[in-house]
Amino acid sequence: MVKLDLKRLANFRYAVISHVDKDGFPFSVSTNFQITPKGEILLEKPGARPQLKGERVGVLFNSITAIPTVGYGHRRYMLVWGTMSEEWGMYKLNPERLSEWDEKILPFDQLCAKSAPQGAKYLASLQTPVEA
């Protein structure tokens, strides 16, 4: 089980639950969440998906604010992968894996520098091989 910074998680306003539908398309829905004193993450049951119990899901907590002049601020997300169980009439997320970014911890330009090798690999894959 992955360890999460629940203090930071509590600062997000809502969560987005995603899982793969029966026909293979990703299904996502936003919902409210709360963190219990025991550190459990409980999510309100969305009306469209009554049966997520036992399902593997990704739950995204994110924030982005448009700056009136140009660009965006307060950019951060925590994407938690895990399975769902039920507790107190809500879904309980059992976290297994985490990917995250918070521009206050890693500024945007540093994030770009860190991601550059992945971008370079993609661009290289687009190049048409030239015969010598």
Binding site: D21, G24, E44, G47, I64
Partner: protein, 98 residues
């Protein structure tokens, strides 16, 4: 996305729209267009400009922002649209399409 083109887009951030606090999920098939990263996106510029008029300032200095102006366009062909009026996802949504 090229390997598995089944995608979805969720419009749920109430700060991201002026069209009311509704929540809309679009599930569909993605068609990535990455044959021309430098010019393939230019036909969508009028839509972009409408959303972010400031983009023209970046465009004027295009040569200074080489990486910024390399863009992949992903066209999504909708298969099913799920909509929650007033963003209340605890209520059953309206579903359009297969």
């Amino acid at each position: 996305m090229k390997r598995n083109p089944r995608v979805s887009m969720l419009f749920s951030n109430p700060e991201g729209t002026t069209a009311g606090r509704h929540t809309v999920l679009v599930q569909g098939t993605a068609h990535p267009q990455d044959a021309d990263l430098d010019h393939g996106w230019e036909r969508y510029l009028p839509h972009w400009r409408k959303k972010e008029p400031v983009i023209d300032a970046f465009l004027a200095d295009r040569e200074k922002f080489g990486w910024f102006w390399k863009r992949i366009v992903v066209q999504v062909e909708p298969k099913r649209i799920t909509a929650w009026k007033n963003g209340d996802t605890t209520r059953p949504p309206e579903v359009f399409g297969a």
